[in-house]
């Protein structure tokens, strides 16, 4: 890691030439991805990119400000519903605007949920946020304005899919996935940079000061009330936008889809990725959502050797149809072992690899 000599160097987005180069390579890679991957894989990538936004948003709250939240599925639901309702109730609202408005609505709720955080912390705050997450889905399910328990179908959004079909020779469904990919990836990249900038500025330093010690921060002149609620609002904004994208991706939303387990998965992404690291959130979101999508009965059975052993073991001792549950065991183990062996999460592994190669032959 290079030594930074002054403040301006620290806040610069792309400091050195090498960084600029790699950033360019990454952007290029992101741009060509949809033309290389088949449509259904791209669709999974879209889902993962949505989770990246959530993980970064949650990390601002959990990792940088030190507040726990078990209710982020609630913000996700608010974002999803607000986007869909704005688009279908007020026909003239274009999708990106609806998405930003949904983010702001979620931010407003985040601000409200931030208020208890002024007095509560640790498990007390966890319970308050958990209650919030439960209440949101109940309220959405109660009122028919929100589609009630029946759920609502999401209107389709497309911009470029015709072009992809005509010029890139994609099938219709792959073109749709590619179209959605560009919408999602633009938001994901923009919001990653946004999060990075927030952290590097006065606001971010206030967050970190609060995380490290809120009393000390207060005595240094940080407005704790403001920044704690602001942190909730910013985090909710990210999650809300991601929720809107999720609604578009999935095509149908109903209150039961936004449960406690979803909040747990979000938290797992942050912690597995690395608390207080944006790069870590990206890694964590990728790994956790990849496992969530792909650890299932038919993939486990196909693992060489282990798969056969598991099937035989299941037939001999376990319930005949229980083998699908092995996915939970593997998922839990991976989650635990990453944290047990590297408390900094995947970001910690990344740092080690970087160090290793920096001094490689020596």
């Amino acid at each position: 890691m290079d030594i930074k000599r002054d403040y301006y160097e620290d806040i610069r987005l792309l400091g050195s030439g090498a960084k600029r180069f790699w950033f360019g390579v990454m952007m290029l890679a992101l741009a060509v991805t949809p033309f290389l991957l088949p449509g259904h894989v791209l669709s999974d990538v879209n889902f993962i990119a949505i989770n990246v936004i959530v993980a970064i948003g949650l990390n601002i709250l959990v990792g940088f400000t030190g507040q726990v939240s078990l209710g982020h599925a609630g913000f996700f639901a608010i974002g999803a519903y607000a986007t869909v309702l704005l688009m279908s109730a007020a026909q003239f609202v274009p999708f990106p605007l609806a998405l930003l408005a949904a983010g702001l609505i979620a931010a407003l709720f985040g601000f409200v949920l931030g208020l208890p955080s002024l007095k509560l912390e640790g498990p007390y705050l966890a319970i308050a946020t958990l209650g919030f997450g439960m209440a949101i889905t109940q309220i959405i399910g109660r009122f028919s304005v929100f589609g009630g328990r029946d759920g609502i179908q999401v209107p389709e959004v497309h911009y470029l899919d015709r072009l992809f079909v005509e010029y890139a020779g994609m099938t219709a469904s792959a073109a749709k996935a590619a179209d959605l990919y560009f919408i999602i990836i633009v938001f994901a990249v923009a919001m990653t940079i946004m999060a990075r900038n927030i952290i590097k500025t006065r606001v971010g330093r206030a967050f970190i000061a609060i995380r490290d010690d809120d009393i000390a921060a207060q005595s240094m002149g940080v407005h704790v009330t403001l920044y704690k609620t602001l942190s909730f609002a910013v985090s909710a904004f990210f999650t809300g936008v991601a929720g809107g994208l999720y609604a578009i991706w999935l095509g149908y939303i109903n209150p039961e889809s936004f449960g406690f387990i979803m909040s747990v998965l979000f938290l797992a992404m942050v912690v597995v990725g690395g608390v207080g690291s944006i790069m870590g959130s990206v890694l964590g979101a990728i790994v956790i959502s990849f496992l969530d999508l792909n650890l299932k009965q038919n993939t486990i059975v196909q693992i060489p050797v282990l798969g056969n052993v598991l099937v035989m073991f299941t037939d001999a001792v376990m319930d005949t149809n229980g083998i699908a549950y092995v996915s939970y065991i593997i998922f839990g183990l991976i989650m635990m072992l990453i944290v047990v062996f590297e408390p900094l999460g995947l970001f910690g592994f990344w740092i080690r690899i970087k160090k290793y190669w920096k001094t490689w032959p020596f």
Partner: protein, 298 residues
């Protein structure tokens, strides 16, 4: 007499929440983290008791004891394998480890016993206690098991209170919780104490699980403990995470609010309103109803 019935029901279910809360508080007191695997530890122990009764033919009392031993072993093994590390994982890391363990236990239960509902006996035969025999007092009625639940919850909390106050091990636990380094310097094997704490908490949780199933007339499957765990956690927070009395107080208040609201206004919102009330109470008493205000070292 209709007004008393929700009160009695609330008292009974509140005592169950109190037992789960108690098991969480025991862990919280020593390591300052909520243990999200508590519910599944109880669920798996209950399944183990079921296994002993169905497949090995033990009578309920022996299966019950067997399951308690099993729970203690699970607690100790978990502590030993995953938590006893040189590296400091931090509170969030710790929460995630318990969440991971929760997934694993859920997976094991589903793998072994499948997804179909299992019948856990509702009577403690040969003991004369049954979930379908009712005791009538005035106009209200309560099943024998629910009465047992209340008695067990209250007496267990009393016992544990005495345990912490008067026994050497209990005092050592308290010392470890207040300052682990100082305790070690004074000759307390803090690691062993931690294992014991986990065993104790797991046993209390297992008792809660095995009373919950016949007490609420439910059948047994891998999903039964998720909601009760969250309620128990909420009860612990309501009462104050660092007090034993808090868990019984919080549990019963939560249960009674829930049942009254569910009966008189809307069963749809009983859980949500209970959580809302908790948040309001916490706003005025941030350390829980019975806890001291949360004082942090700077």
């Amino acid at each position: 007499m209709m007004i008393l019935q929700p009160l009695i029901d609330g008292l009974a279910i509140g005592s169950l929440y109190a037992l789960i809360a108690l098991s969480m508080v025991i862990i919280y007191k020593t390591s300052e983290v909520p243990n999200f695997a508590q519910g599944e530890m109880a669920m798996l122990s209950t399944f183990f008791a079921y296994y002993l009764m169905e497949n090995a033919g033990f009578a309920f009392p022996y299966a019950f004891l067997g399951a308690l031993v099993f729970a203690a072993v699970v607690g100790v093994v978990f502590e030993f394998v995953f938590l006893r590390r040189e590296k400091e994982v931090g509170i969030l890391g710790f929460i995630l480890i318990t969440l991971g363990f929760e997934r694993i236990l859920y997976g094991i239960a589903g793998w072994k016993w499948g997804s179909e509902q299992k019948l856990f006996p509702s009577s403690f035969a040969p003991l004369p206690v049954s979930g379908s025999t009712m005791i009538h007092l005035g106009g209200v009625s309560i099943s024998q098991i629910k009465l047992i639940i209340v008695i067990v919850a209250v007496s267990l909390i009393g016992l544990i209170f005495l345990f912490f106050k008067y026994t050497r091990v209990g005092i050592a636990m308290k010392a470890t919780q207040q300052n682990a380094t100082a305790a070690r310097i004074n000759g307390i094997r803090t690691k062993r104490i931690m294992s014991l704490t986990w065993a104790m908490s797991a046993v209390v949780g297992a008792i809660a699980g095995m009373l919950l199933v016949p007490g609420t007339n439910t059948s047994l499957d891998a999903n039964i403990m998720l909601a009760p765990l969250l309620k128990g956690f909420a009860a612990a927070v309501l009462g104050g995470m660092n007090t034993l009395v808090g868990s019984i107080g919080g549990g019963i208040i939560l249960g009674v609010i829930e049942k009254f609201f569910g009966f008189y206004i809307s069963s749809e919102f009983e859980t949500v309103v209970a959580f809302l009330i908790i948040v309001i109470i916490l706003w005025f008493r941030p350390g829980g109803l019975f806890g001291r205000h949360y004082v942090r070292k700077v």
